[in-house]
């Protein structure tokens, strides 16, 4: 559905996207991950026909983004990072306007509008001016305009930024419901979002594609060793000694603790070892109060640090 070969974009002397190649099949939901300024938005802009590539080519829905821009544009839906919709229009007028621009005949506009306002949950605000809507509703209107032409390929640039937690869950559910027939490219810098929604992740850093993997595999990029955060009541030295005595523990590092008398430690296990139960047993045996023992979650930072170091 999307074929990208050697895609490059220069802005003057700066290279925003540097020879990126990947291909995405029909029905895939792919996470496009990277820190701010990594080149995610520029890549999306090239794939949506807004910017022409400097070098390389991309085909979306079977059409070349540079030479067949109009055909590409009719087969895609795009939700830009900041939803730039006309504040003075009502939702109803806006969606009708977008439908006309997407070249949809009247009957189809009417039918699809009814479908997308239901899918995006914006029936209540259908007659309101967009300027009066909350951030969450505006985001959904943005999603509605992207979905209006029933696109084969959907590009979503940071769709949950600036939403409250409940709205984030709703938007994610909506995106998940789009899976199957549609190809979705979801740009984000939030790792959990990717693990929740996507079965494949492309990581971009300084304009270059540095990883193309399944979200579970990302974990292994940080080393396959298990890491555990331990919180216990007792003296730092004593707790540390107790944990270090456990078989399978590779290293112990102190973490900040806000409460006096409570220590927090990050424990890294040997590769392949799982010393969690042994740690609990040892602490109990030495009469140290174990308050919590949690598997440390892999953060995007960890993944990046690993990937970038590997790159260098």
């Amino acid at each position: 559905m999307i074929e990208v070969t050697g895609l490059t974009k220069h802005f003057g002397p700066r290279t925003a996207v540097d020879e990126v190649s990947f291909s995405i099949g029909q029905g895939e939901i792919v996470g496009f991950l990277g820190p701010n300024g990594a080149g995610k938005t520029t890549t999306l802009r090239m794939l949506t026909g807004f910017l022409p590539p400097s070098v390389g080519s991309a085909r979306v829905a079977g059409f070349d983004v540079d030479t067949q821009s109009m055909q590409v544009r009719s087969h895609i839906g795009y939700l830009p990072e900041t939803v730039p919709i006309y504040r003075d229009l009502t939702v109803a007028y806006y969606l009708d306007f977008v439908g006309r621009l997407k070249g949809m005949p009247r009957a189809r506009r009417r039918e699809r509008t009814a479908e997308v306002i239901h899918a995006c949950g914006i029936e209540d605000v259908f007659q309101q001016r967009i300027g009066t809507l909350s951030r969450g509703y505006r985001q959904r209107v943005g999603l509605a305009q992207a979905l209006l032409n029933d696109p084969e390929v959907l590009f979503l640039d940071e769709p949950t930024v600036g939403l409250d937690p409940r709205q984030i869950v709703e938007i994610r559910d909506l995106i998940r419901s789009l899976a199957g027939r549609r190809t979705v490219v979801l740009s984000t810098h939030i790792l959990p979002e990717v693990s929740l929604l996507c079965r494949r992740v492309l990581i971009i850093h300084r304009g270059r594609l540095i990883a193309d993997a399944r979200p579970e595999e990302l974990q292994s990029h940080t080393g396959d060793a298990l890491r555990v955060d331990v919180e216990a009541r007792g003296e730092l030295a004593a707790v540390r000694a107790a944990i270090e005595s456990v078989e399978g523990v590779a290293s112990v590092a102190g973490l900040d603790s806000a409460i006096a008398g409570i220590v927090r430690l990050r424990v890294a296990a040997d590769s392949g070892a799982d010393p969690r139960e042994a740690i609990a047993a040892t602490l109990a045996a030495r009469n140290i109060g174990l308050r919590s023992l949690v598997t440390a979650s892999v953060t995007l930072e960890d993944v990046f640090v690993q990937l970038v170091t590997r790159e260098n």
Partner: protein, 256 residues
């Protein structure tokens, strides 16, 4: 076609749902009415004097004393007001970021340009139409030359269209409405006064400058003369600026 129409409708809705069109039209009609009252009052005064002076009476005409100066005055007001109609057309899309979404829809640059241009031209047409009571009053009290009225309005409309095309071009350059408005005003003013220097520049340059003068072409229309030379002049300038605007939109995509 349907896409241009959609953009046209949306742009027109913006003009008439916000105070922009009403404010610009109201100011124009008010000033045009004042000029008309002033010119007609003065004409009335000279007519009364001319009743004692048959020689003077022969040289009096509604066309030269009322219509011609009225169109001239209106053109100066338009120079000030029309940039206000066009200065936000592209700057606003840039600033709000809606240009990004607009140009990922299957619409061409020309769809967008023509939609916006025709909407601005429509507002301008309404603006001119609102001053029609002035010539209507002339018909009620006297018999003005219909040819001069019609060609005067045609000339004024065409001149305004060139200002609108100019304004579209300047609004496509950046994201500041103020800069776009000021540049349009400056450029329009230059076209109005470019003929002033003809008496003391070399004849060759003078001829070119005179051809470029918007006033000179408008004068012909105001006298009741519709010359293809003038029609072509306005059409050329309009197309030239619309074309530049299309080039800017295209190149902005490469540079951005």
């Amino acid at each position: 076609m349907g896409k241009t129409y959609a953009l046209y409708r949306r742009e027109l809705a913006y003009y008439f749902q916000s105070p922009v069109a009403y404010a610009v039209i109201a100011v124009f009609v008010l000033l045009a009415g004042y000029f008309f009252y002033n010119l007609l009052g003065y004409f009335n005064l000279t007519s009364i004097q001319a009743m004692q002076n048959p020689l003077q009476a022969r040289s009096l005409s509604l066309t030269t004393s009322v219509l011609q100066p009225l169109f001239g005055n209106m053109s100066a007001v338009l120079l000030l007001l029309l940039p206000l109609l066009t200065m936000r057309l592209f700057t606003e899309e840039r600033r709000s970021g809606s240009a990004e979404l607009l140009f990922t829809y299957p619409v061409t640059d020309w769809n967008v340009i023509m939609g916006k241009f025709l909407a601005a031209a429509t507002v301008y047409g309404v603006m001119l139409a609102m001053t029609l009571p002035c010539p209507a009053l002339l018909y009620y009290f006297s018999t003005p030359e219909t040819g001069a009225v019609v060609s005067g309005y045609l000339g004024l409309f065409l001149m305004g269209i060139t200002f609108l095309a100019m304004g579209m071009f300047f609004s496509s350059l950046g994201d500041s409405q103020l800069v776009a408005g000021a540049a349009t005003f400056g450029c329009g003013l230059l076209f109005l006064i470019v003929g002033w220097v003809t008496p003391f520049v070399s004849p060759g340059v003078g001829a070119v400058l005179e051809q470029l003068s918007i006033v000179r072409h408008l004068d012909a229309f105001a006298r009741g003369v519709i010359d293809t030379n003038d029609l072509v002049f306005y059409a050329n300038i309009t197309v030239f600026f619309l074309f530049l605007c299309a080039r800017v939109l295209d190149s902005a995509r490469w540079r951005s």
